[in-house]
Subunit: 278 residues, 2 copies
Amino acid sequence: MATGRTHRPATRSRGIPEATVARLPLYLRALTALSERSVPTVSSEELATAAGVNSAKLRKDFSYLGSYGTRGVGYDVEYLVYQISRELGLTQDWPVVIVGIGNLGAALANYGGFASRGFRVAALIDADPAMAGKPVAGMPVQHTDELEKIITDNGVSIGVIATPAGAAQQVCERLVAAGVTSILNFAPTVLTVPDGVDVRKVDLSIELQILAFHEQRKAGEGAAAEAASAAERGSAVGAAEVDAADADADADVDAPEADSAAANRKGPDGDVPAVMPA
Amino acid sequence: MATGRTHRPATRSRGIPEATVARLPLYLRALTALSERSVPTVSSEELATAAGVNSAKLRKDFSYLGSYGTRGVGYDVEYLVYQISRELGLTQDWPVVIVGIGNLGAALANYGGFASRGFRVAALIDADPAMAGKPVAGMPVQHTDELEKIITDNGVSIGVIATPAGAAQQVCERLVAAGVTSILNFAPTVLTVPDGVDVRKVDLSIELQILAFHEQRKAGEGAAAEAASAAERGSAVGAAEVDAADADADADVDAPEADSAAANRKGPDGDVPAVMPA
DNA sequence: ATGTCTTTGTGAACGCGTGCACAAAGATTG
DNA sequence: CAATCTTTGTGCACGCGTTCACAAAGACAT
């Protein structure tokens, strides 16, 4: 997410809610699969299942695009593929540059899914002079010095940042200055960009942390009901949890000493007891 | 959101809203940086800026954790780092397995950010016999046959799927059957999992498509008012120029959108972004 | 044509998340 | 100790997004 600005009337880009836009690619993928199997039509129910969403939601999403379905029958697969593609702007060519050709950048460059939908890798850019000219994914890596020229010459408006965190903001600024208005950021940093520039971030570490949170919750909660089975699974919860009923189960076991922080605070909180994984 | 499956009805895992949980890692990162600079305290305003969010939101988020701030002063950095880490479950060790050691899988294995927060790569698994034993990121790749044993022996509860789309569901099922309850999916497929299992997905293709949508909108908009180059992306969106009759729905050539800037990520849960290939 | 059956499209209710604005709490100064 | 200043914590209102539930629309059979 971008930092510079943060608010906006929740932008309904054109009457199409942001949440819906985020789901369109999902529908498109499911539809494409159906199309390849030559399925002529699908009901909202079937398509919703394939896309992993609720059918009512899907119908409402489609209603923002227009009335493309036929009552009693469903949606014409081919037609819908076309409409969604057009709506997403996939009927045109989108040259993309990837900056930072390390492990991740190289993996992205090799990713086939790129080209499959109108996205074309126009160039791979890296700051390391040693990388210059070296072929990655059948394409020579170019030095950062060329960045502006590349962007301009190829009319690139979408940039992918896969550099180390420390270089991200600077690269971002150069990209924006050169004309890029959409950025996909893989570096673990908050990018600050001017208005009008879209930033989406992909952060591995954050995703894992969110999973860990839920995992921890699950471990603490199942502990009570967990008599003996699966004792080897790293979830030997402390006996402190008398009743971890789902209600609000807020078994407060005080937190261990303020650790490195000698603060004298006392959180009204403190929860999960010691869990010890392998 | 993260999965194609519906976990609990937006259950507040423990009184902590999902949206807040998704931001905690962001705060943690900003706090860690401050900690390394030996900054003792921060105000909600400073921290919010560093994390790229609104200060009111940050304060509200923290209020779900408890009252850890001091009015008139701010928050104790070290203490907050500890509290958030504990809340996220990062004070414990989380063994993780990565299945599918292709370009992406290898990149993930080499990703340093993994270990930095309690996540330890316990094993790299691939179905290709030729890969077996081959060292990646200083660790021998193991064959899929060993999957169940690895999960059990290491008490792994978090799995990362970086296989091709076609193999994802099957791998997912084996992981779950073996005891994994949280999955980070990089394969472009909707995974179906039983209740109690969390799935978060990272899909590069989807992220790019969302950017393309906004990019297209921006282009169309600029075309209409091309006069002023690319400098008027005001935030004072005049609702005035809303698209023509909303009922158009047809105009194949597509009408330029109205509205302005674009929303960065959002998403109830997730909003969160997630992305990637396979 | 008429009736029945299927599936869409959507009005309305509801819940979550966001942001404002301010009272309360504590630090700080005189 | 009182006054002032700073910053937190939160009540409240608002809007987006989700879901339900159903009328409308069309296909299909008789």
